[in-house]
């Protein structure tokens, strides 16, 4: 198990390396630069700026310099927010994004598993059809459509919740963004749970448990749920990626000062270091989550043996 974990962690290194190399060169080879917006700088000032940020060096040298800084955990200064380093910006934005993402993930898993189990227990009956139609709706309405609709209904029309902002993470400001992030995932998880639960309920060990006369809720909670959750667990990796990507849009719509917003704005402003920082940080996070999911899978499924 330990050996397997180490092997997996080492296996993630090439992915991370490829990620940052691709991102670096893609960004630098693109037309435009971080100081384009300040129109027609005098050439001397432009040269000074370039020298200050080492933009005058050849690209491979810059790349090596970046790698070196990265190894020391330094993501460099931001071009757009002149007084901040990328480390500071990430440290400020990430807690916000993380709170949003974790809440959305928790909501998605709890609600999704509950709905999926409900549907499986009532297979092909009205409750099942209702849940599955709901799930299909959730999958078909992307979060950037859902978010404005939620604002329209709950903020503009009913006036129950604020339309945006963060306000030091008051719960009222969290409700709509969390729902917008979670709902598509609820739908996926409900479908996954239903499918695997139906399969598990047909398995011989469930028939045995029934024959023993176990009450239905013990049967479901103690015996059926754990194996039925395996596909859900393996979905958590992609789900993390979906939440991180979704946060780009949701944070923008609700005006939340998280990391996702930095990404698009940074890319538009050619804030090289900021964009690289977010890509590497998110990439590492996704890889880490996939790794945890793999280990979790091994713990939950006694059939999996890792060498």
């Amino acid at each position: 198990m330990l050996y397997y974990a180490l092997k997996r962690l080492l296996g993630a290194l090439p992915t991370l390396f490829l990620l940052l190399t691709l991102a670096f060169f893609m960004m630098r080879l693109a037309p435009g630069g971080p100081f384009d917006s300040e129109k027609s700088l005098p050439p001397e000032i432009q040269a000074n700026l370039d020298r200050k940020y080492h933009l005058d060096e050849p690209l491979p040298a810059q790349y090596l310099r970046y790698l070196g800084d990265l190894l020391r955990g330094d993501l460099g200064p931001s071009f757009q927010y002149q007084d901040y380093t990328v480390n500071e910006l990430i440290a400020a934005g990430f807690p916000v994004s993380a709170r949003l993402g974790l809440l959305a993930m928790a909501l998605a898993v709890v609600l999704g598993v509950a709905l999926g189990t409900l549907a499986a227990l009532h297979q092909n009956r009205p409750a099942d059809h209702a849940v599955m139609t709901l799930a299909m709706t959730g999958i078909s309405i992307p979060n950037f459509v859902l978010a404005p609709l939620l604002i329209l209904l709950f903020a503009v029309h009913l006036g129950w919740l604020p339309a945006g902002g963060w306000n030091g993470s008051r719960w009222q400001n969290l409700v709509l963004p969390v729902i917008a992030l979670a709902l598509p995932l609820v739908a996926y998880i409900a479908r996954l749970t239903r499918g695997s639960m139906i399969e598990v309920l047909r398995a011989p060990f469930i028939r045995t448990a029934r024959a023993k006369g176990l009450p239905e809720h013990t049967l479901i909670l103690r015996h059926a749920l754990k194996p039925a959750l395996l596909p859900v667990v393996s979905f958590l990796g992609p789900a993390t990626a979906a939440i991180l990507t979704g946060s780009v849009v949701v944070e923008q719509i609700f005006g939340i000062p998280g990391l996702g917003r930095h990404f698009v704005q940074g890319a538009l402003n050619r804030d090289y270091t900021l964009v690289m920082g977010v890509v590497i940080f998110y990439g590492a996070l996704i890889i880490l989550f996939n790794f945890i999911v793999d280990l979790l899978y091994a713990v939950l499924d006694p059939r999996v043996r890792y060498r």
Binding site: T15, L18, M26, A30, P31, T137, F144, L244, V248, I286
Partner: protein, 287 residues
């Protein structure tokens, strides 16, 4: 098995099962109507998609002036724009799916059929790419290389082939063991010919299901990018771009969000239902 009762092929069987699935049939009818509307758009309204009606800026649906869905903030007809946006979204969906289909099927079939070290290396590449947050790359691509629609197709297609490659490889591994492949090898067919003529045609069932499920995903990616302002460029539009415009004026002009958003959602809904129906029809184990 010679003579006797006429057998039913897999496809006949599948078609029968699909047509009995009411949700899937309804979805197909609705989708056909949407495609028809989107194709016939220019003949359905007197307005042009980039024509500005200076007298009616941001009005709600108004049949009198034949603005069936109203106008946007600069006075352009939303009915025509929604339908033309649909053209772009559907086109991106289909073309990008074809790109991912071509890459995914080739990659998966070759890896699965050749097996051994080639397979190991090819699937390792898929694994590495799998862990990449590709959405971020597509965003970077679109930001830096101008919002080129062709690039959009390729970029989206190129991130969606991984699942396809995995599924196709799995199927190929199973197919490889079958007698007809052995017969083809014995009769001296070259490897590319075997893959092209014997493996790939037998993958069509799985691939068909997967294609119907990929199209809505791709439409979603495109609308996501257009929503961020990185997709198609003005005056052209797509559903994602329209939803973005609508979201800006949600308080003053909710109709400019509701119409394109419903078209987008209904289309995705239909594709998902058809995909589910096809999967049930082609894979009768799960009944």
């Amino acid at each position: 098995m010679t003579g006797g009762a006429p057998g039913r092929s897999l496809w006949q069987d599948a078609r029968r099962r699909l047509l009995r699935n009411r949700a899937a049939v309804t979805a197909m009818v609705i989708l056909a109507i949407i495609i028809l509307l989107v194709t016939a758009a220019p003949w359905l309204s007197p307005w042009q998609f980039d024509q500005i009606d200076w007298d009616r800026l941001s009005i709600p649906p108004d049949p009198a002036s034949r603005h069936w869905f109203g106008t946007d903030a600069v006075g352009r007809d939303l009915f025509v724009r929604t339908l033309l946006g649909g053209r772009v979204s559907l086109l991106v969906g289909v073309v990008a799916t074809l790109v991912s289909l071509a890459i995914g099927v080739t990659w998966g079939a070759v890896a699965g059929y050749l097996g051994g070290r080639v397979d190991a290396v090819m699937m390792r590449v898929v694994d590495i790419l799998y862990a990449m947050p590709f959405m971020f790359f597509v965003i970077l691509l679109m930001v830096f290389f101008g919002r080129d629609i062709l690039l959009l197709f390729v970029a989206i297609g190129a991130i969606n082939w991984l699942d396809m490659a995995r599924i196709v490889r799995g199927q190929t591994l199973a197919l490889k063991q079958r007698e007809f492949v052995e017969a083809a090898v014995a009769s001296g067919l070259t490897t590319p010919a075997i893959i092209g003529r014997h493996i790939v045609p037998n993958l069509l069932g799985v691939v068909a299901v997967y294609v119907t499920l990929t199209i809505p995903q791709v439409i979603l990616v495109e609308s996501f990018l257009s929503f961020l302002g990185l997709g198609v460029q003005e005056p052209f539009t797509s559903w994602g771009a329209l939803v973005n415009d609508g979201a800006q004026e949600i308080e003053s002009a909710p109709w400019s969000l509701l119409f394109p958003a419903s078209f987008l959602a209904v289309t995705l809904f239909c594709f998902n239902f058809i995909g589910d129906g096809l999967r049930d029809a082609l894979d009768p184990r799960d009944r």
